[in-house]
């Protein structure tokens, strides 16, 4: 057995152990709320069959690359004032939310800021990006401030702006990956994550970092690479057939935007953080994780930490391990791909990982839909009363302060079906994108199909992982 084989087997064993060992003992939890005609594990098997059939269909019916050279169509001219207007609206909303965080009630459920951050912003915008394109870019308050400052500086300097530094290619999307990891850590590990004034302070700190980044490297370069949320939402928006520019709305073939994502430095860690953090969000509410955390926490306390900090450290460790598992699974798939095409291509395993990283974007979105659709469906309705009383001090500006959340509009069974459909569709789309990229990269359709055997394994693994996580959290 060669060293490479041993490494692959060890990585496989680690990934498999993580999947198996993480099976929770959910005997007394609130499982089985859904009224499903078949056991949940059968959905995983059905998803497996669908993915294998999709793979065979792609290999036999999709023989030439379709996303190599696509053209966009300009559909609608937009007034030039629209972009600064949306930006100004974004700045106003940002300022209003920060004000609510400081001036409003510090009871998280009654203050608008926590719900906007964790539901409308973090979950709602990915959904909107899929259907409407990059809406966040238009309303991005940091970008709007940066552009406004740039315009003022240019006018003050008689039309000449100081040249920004060249954005280092090696930095790539690493700042965005770090930013999303920090936000995930805030959401999933920090004990005071719902505290409105803390969130307001963190929002201001994030804005300050973005303004520094834009002043150093230019608004566009930093927004496209360094601004974590701009990059995060922008990746999801590539799945949309709509693309907005400052003066026009364009349409493009579905998925062609994702196929054209530039696979530069930092993209692999970014997509792995996206998938891993969502996975840990699901895993962290399972009884198995509760038992692990309950076992580890006293040991961390014994090491001298407070109970609060010990909990945060244990959860942070769990988050990092989950991201590590997702990254290992993906790299293992790329290693398998490398072994399948080693006679036909000079690409290294890491090179393949970078080139195929955009194909994980639909999977990351599928994970978001699967894990947060219920949250958005129910908690999203809270915006009706929070908008009417954003500070939580008893006002009723819109007359909807008395509205409540309707938990009956969609059943738990309905949510489960949406989750399963999103996962299967997301992974099938990932397979199609990977197949198309392989056709562009490799000499023949046969080699391209052979290279994708292991990507199929990656997709099936991610699907099984997600369905297993969901089966334990629903």
């Amino acid at each position: 057995m060669t060293r490479n084989h041993r490494r692959a087997l060890v990585a496989l064993a680690v990934a498999a152990t993580a999947l198996v060992a993480a099976t929770p003992a959910e005997a007394h939890g609130l499982v089985g709320k859904q009224d499903l005609p078949i056991p949940k594990w059968l959905f995983a098997w059905a998803a497996f069959v669908v993915l294998v059939i999709s793979f065979v269909g792609l290999a036999t019916l999709w023989q030439t690359a379709r996303f190599g050279d696509v053209t966009e169509r300009r559909r609608l001219a937009l007034p030039r004032v629209l972009d600064p207007l949306c930006g100004a609206l974004g700045v106003l909303m940002f300022a209003g939310l920060v004000y609510a965080g400081y001036a409003g009630t510090q009871e998280s459920a009654a203050n608008i800021l926590p719900t906007v951050v964790y539901v409308t912003f973090w979950v709602g915008i990915p959904f909107a990006s899929l259907f409407l394109g990059d809406v966040f870019r238009a309303f991005n308050p940091w970008r709007a401030i940066g552009r406004a400052v740039g315009t003022v500086v240019a006018k003050a300097g008689g039309g000449a702006q100081p040249e920004p530094l060249e954005y280092p290619a090696r930095l790539g999307r690493w700042p965005a990956a770090a930013g999303i990891l920090l936000f995930a850590a805030l959401e999933l590990t920090y004990t005071n994550r719902d505290d409105p004034s803390t969130l307001a302070t963190l929002a201001l700190a994030y804005a300050a970092v973005q303004l520094v980044g834009m002043s150093l490297f230019g608004v566009r370069a930093w927004s496209d690479r360094g601004d974590a949320f701009s990059v995060y939402f922008g990746l999801f928006a590539t799945l949309s057939p709509l693309r907005w520019t400052r003066d026009a709305l364009h349409t493009r073939p579905v998925l062609s935007g994702t196929a054209r994502i530039e696979p530069g430095a930092g993209l692999v860690p970014l997509v792995c953080v996206m998938i891993g953090s969502t996975s840990f969000d699901g895993f962290s509410v399972s009884s198995f994780w509760t038992s692990i955390a309950g076992d580890l926490q006293p040991r961390v306390v014994d090491a001298g930490f407070s109970i609060e900090h010990a909990t945060e450290l244990v959860f942070a460790g769990g988050l990092l391990v989950m991201i590590g598992v997702v990254t290992s699974l993906y790299l293992l798939g790329c290693r398998g791909m490398h072994s399948a095409i080693t006679r036909s291509s000079d690409e290294t395993t890491m090179g393949l990982a970078r080139r195929f990283a955009p194909t994980l974007v639909p999977i990351a979105l599928a994970y978001v839909v699967a894990h947060y659709f219920g949250l958005l469906s129910y908690q999203g309705q809270a915006m009706a009363y929070l908008l009417s009383d954003p500070l939580g001090n008893g006002h009723d500006y819109l007359g909807t302060a008395g509205s409540t959340i309707d938990y009956t509009w969609i059943s738990a069974t309905g949510i489960w079906y949406v989750q399963v459909a999103a996962l299967v569709l997301g992974h099938a789309v990932g397979l199609a994108l990977a197949h198309d990229r392989a056709l562009l990269m490799f000499s023949s359709a046969r080699v391209a199909a052979r290279s994708q055997y292991w990507m199929l394994a990656v997709m099936v693994t991610f699907t099984s992982l997600a369905l297993w996580l969901l089966s334990n959290t629903n």
């Binding site: 498999a16 099976t23 098997w45 099984s464 369905l467 297993w468």
Partner: protein, 57 residues
């Protein structure tokens, strides 16, 4: 890592079922990969033998 309670063994078994498609696929891919490598080695051996024969002639 805490040991799983025996009372929940049934749920552990159900959890394994989620892993089964992955295991089936990985084993299949390993078998295919091994078969491909053997076929390639055989092809290389035949090519070398043909070349040796041509050189001898």
């Amino acid at each position: 890592m805490p040991l799983p309670p025996l009372a929940h063994a049934g749920h552990w078994f159900v959890g394994l079922i989620y892993l089964a498609p992955v295991a089936i696929l990985v084993v299949t891919l390993l078998v295919i990969g091994r078969r491909d490598r053997l076929a390639e080695a055989e092809e290389l051996r035949r090519t070398a033998a043909d070349e040796d024969r041509e050189t001898a002639e």
